[in-house]
């Protein structure tokens, strides 16, 4: 028994060593850039993510963690290090609520940065408003885009899907779409319903195929989608669901009969290689940020920070880009504050004042502002699976979702 325990302990230690930080390849740009480790009183910042469960949504938090480590190694926030607390909500609203209460009330976080969860926004939006906590997250459900205190850096699946359909209608000849979605709160009506509303205005029919997220039967879902006789099948899952549904579709050789497109959740490094050559030129995805291999200064810096301060196994994906940007904006805001007066109230006020953030990682400017809800990122691109990677197609374009009307009106009135 003891021998087994020692063996397992040794195996786990080896695995952890293998996951340890990779050596720095270039000197990344972050915070004060002075090379001095921060030693003052830590500033607590939280992040809630669905880590264990159907999929791992911690890429944004891992990127923010790498950025904050870089900041802490380079003078911190005028001498004060950031204490970044990443917690797992296990895809459970009750857990999300518990951990948020702990972060807000016990750990006294000054902000939440880089969160990404299916259940968190709905469970905690009220708490964040009551306690005046600002959240810069990666929004994946409707409730992440309807709160005063939750500010997504990404477009979200709704805009991402509309953007993909807009491109498919303009360039791939899409007229009839089967929207395949998990039966989750806020997903079916908000996503597929939204695509149908957009389609009505643009002569595209959208019908739904709804499946239980716990089901292991994607073949029936694909057959059901085919039975609707669409020309395009839109997948709205996370990467795990994409892999399962594309494998089922490949089994039925559906890739040669239908166009397969997805939300930005499909834009994952390694996904084209995982799904195989069959999908070369056949599987399209939308991009919430600019391409992952972009050569602009911010994109290069993101990759350098991930190499220097992240783990080798941390994904370098679209959510990771968002986590990096969220951490960067938060750091810039904190650096402008008097380090002795950094608390939740001063940080929330300073974050609400953020305007006109520009980066080569985004198709347009980003801002926070005082709006009742936030959806500043509304321009994107598309890419297609090609030779084991992603080939970007075309340039950035604005997404014309009718749901954005209030945001666009506020921007015209000066919210940007």
């Amino acid at each position: 028994m003891r021998r087994l325990a020692s063996f397992l302990a040794a195996a786990l230690s080896l695995a952890m060593v293998a996951l340890a930080t990779a050596p720095a390849s270039a000197k990344p740009d972050c915070g004060l850039n002075n090379g001095k480790p921060a030693t003052g009183e830590p500033i607590p910042i939280g992040s809630i993510n669905g880590i264990t469960g159907p999929d791992d949504f911690s890429a944004s938090a891992r990127a923010a963690d790498a950025y904050f480590k870089c900041v802490n190694a380079n003078g911190g926030i005028n001498g004060r290090p950031i204490k970044y607390l990443i917690v797992d909500d296990q895809w459970r609203p009750d857990v999300a609520s518990q951990v948020a209460t702990k972060l807000v009330k016990d750990d006294k976080v000054v902000a939440m940065i880089g969160s990404n969860s299916i259940v968190e926004c709905l469970a905690n939006a009220g708490l964040y408003e009551r306690e005046n906590v600002m959240v810069i997250d990666i929004g994946v459900v409707h409730e992440c885009f309807t709160s005063k205190n939750i500010v997504p850096f990404n477009q979200g699946p709704r805009l991402s899907g509309v953007g993909m359909l807009r491109y498919a209608a303009d360039h791939l000849g899409t007229k009839k779409v089967a929207c395949v979605a998990w039966n989750l709160p806020g997903v079916v009506d908000w996503l597929c319903g939204g695509f149908a509303a957009w389609g009505k205005k643009h002569g595209v029919t959208v019908q739904n195929v709804i499946i239980d997220p716990s089901s292991s039967d994607y073949t029936s879902a694909m057959l059901q989608a085919a039975a609707l006789k669409p020309d395009t099948i839109l997948l709205t899952f996370t990467k795990g669901g994409h892999i399962q549904s594309l494998a089922a579709a490949e089994e039925q050789d559906m890739g040669s009969k239908y166009k397969f497109v997805s939300l930005a959740s499909g834009y994952v490094v390694g996904l084209p290689e995982t799904i195989g050559k069959y999908w070369d030129g056949k599987f399209w995805t939308q991009l919430e940020f600019t391409p992952l291999d972009g050569t602009g200064p911010d994109n290069k810096n993101w990759l350098e920070i991930m190499d220097a301060y992240g783990n080798k196994s941390d994904p370098r994906d679209t959510f990771s880009q968002g986590g990096y940007l969220a951490a960067k904006v938060a750091t810039q805001v904190l650096l402008k504050l008097d380090p002795a007066k950094i608390d939740r109230a001063t940080v929330s006020d300073a974050l609400r004042a953020v305007r006109d953030v520009r980066s080569d990682m985004m198709c347009g400017p980003w801002y926070i502002g005082n709006g009742k809800r936030h959806n500043a990122n509304h321009a994107g691109m598309v890419a297609v699976a090609s030779k084991g990677g992603w080939a970007p197609k075309g340039n950035c374009f604005e997404i014309d979702d009718p749901e954005l009307d209030d945001i666009i009106a506020a921007e015209k009135a000066g919210a940007k």
Partner: protein, 288 residues
């Protein structure tokens, strides 16, 4: 709407349930323990296979290594942990395996995580039979054959060998078995070893058919329980058949407007109906 394609898809899904269900019952028949860790053992074997394939080692070696890992872990549990629970009732022993499943799930999460997209493919994915104009890959048929093969192999082992006799005795009553000279720990460990081999093979097939995802594979034992109930935790053949029926029902329900939302509950609803209608005294085994 033509439901026949969904029936064919259901045969594919049913083969998954049948395999997982038989895996659950196989150890129950041979040592009296319901093995909730069957899916997790298969998952960790499949992850090992995936990792080995990534470094370019030939598939046959990678598959063998994956099966070996599942077998070794299963044997280790049967040799080291299971004896500590030998005097506890069946429910406690079953919960012990659930703990083991969660431990393995934690280890796979720690070592591999879900951040990287993964897929395990087998050469049989490219070969298929057309059933009701739906392609049913050989991997799915292989899963069904393996489930039936396990049924036959275990039935033969239990009925025709001395070891099988000892296993049956052990499954029936541990105390009396030890009194009549059966080496309980040894026979138990062998049962775990056999179950581990099946878990390893099933893990490779299920990772291909369902997903290379530890959580998914670990909790595949839940619909498998429904299949096992069809077999009253005793009959391996009825379990395999139950898995098939559950799979076909679940697949066909997607074509029924309201049914599609609740179709993953189909195996349990069927199992409950089965107990209600045909349960009687013979379901007593479920309460032991």
């Amino acid at each position: 709407m033509n439901l026949l394609p969904f029936v064919a898809a259901g045969i594919g899904l049913g083969s998954v349930y049948a395999l997982a269900g038989v895996g659950l019952v196989v150890l129950y028949r041979s040592s009296g323990t319901l093995n909730f860790a069957f899916g997790a053992l298969g998952a960790i074997g499949a992850y090992c296979t995936w990792s080995i394939l990534q470094v370019g080692i030939p598939p046959a070696i990678a598959w063998a290594a994956g099966i070996a890992v599942a077998t070794a872990l299963s044997f280790a549990y049967g040799w080291l942990i299971a004896p500590l629970l030998r005097h506890r009732d069946r429910a406690v022993r079953a919960i012990g395996t659930l703990g083991f499943a969660l431990f393995i799930l934690g280890c796979t999460g720690l070592i591999w995580g879900e951040a990287v997209p993964r897929r395990l493919t087998l050469p049989t994915d490219k070969m298929y039979a057309m059933i009701f104009s739906v392609r049913v890959t050989y991997t799915r048929l292989l899963a069904l054959l393996l489930a039936l093969g396990m049924v036959g192999a275990i039935a033969l082992l239990l009925a025709r060998t001395r070891l099988g006799l000892s296993m049956r005795a052990l499954a029936a009553d541990r105390n009396i078995s030890s009194l009549i000279g059966i080496r309980v720990v040894r026979v138990d460990a062998i049962a775990w070893l056999v179950s581990g081999v099946f878990a390893g093979v099933a893990g490779l097939l299920l990772a291909d058919l369902v997903a290379l995802n530890a959580t998914f594979l670990t909790f595949l034992v839940i619909p498998a329980i429904a299949a096992a109930i069809f077999g009253r935790l005793q009959s391996l053949a009825a379990t395999a058949l139950g898995g098939l029926v559950a799979g076909i029902t679940e697949a066909v329900l997607i074509a029924v407007p309201v049914g599609s939302f609740y179709r993953s509950a189909a195996p349990f609803v069927l199992a409950l109906l089965f107990i209600t209608l045909f349960g009687g005294r013979r379901t007593a085994v479920l309460h032991e």
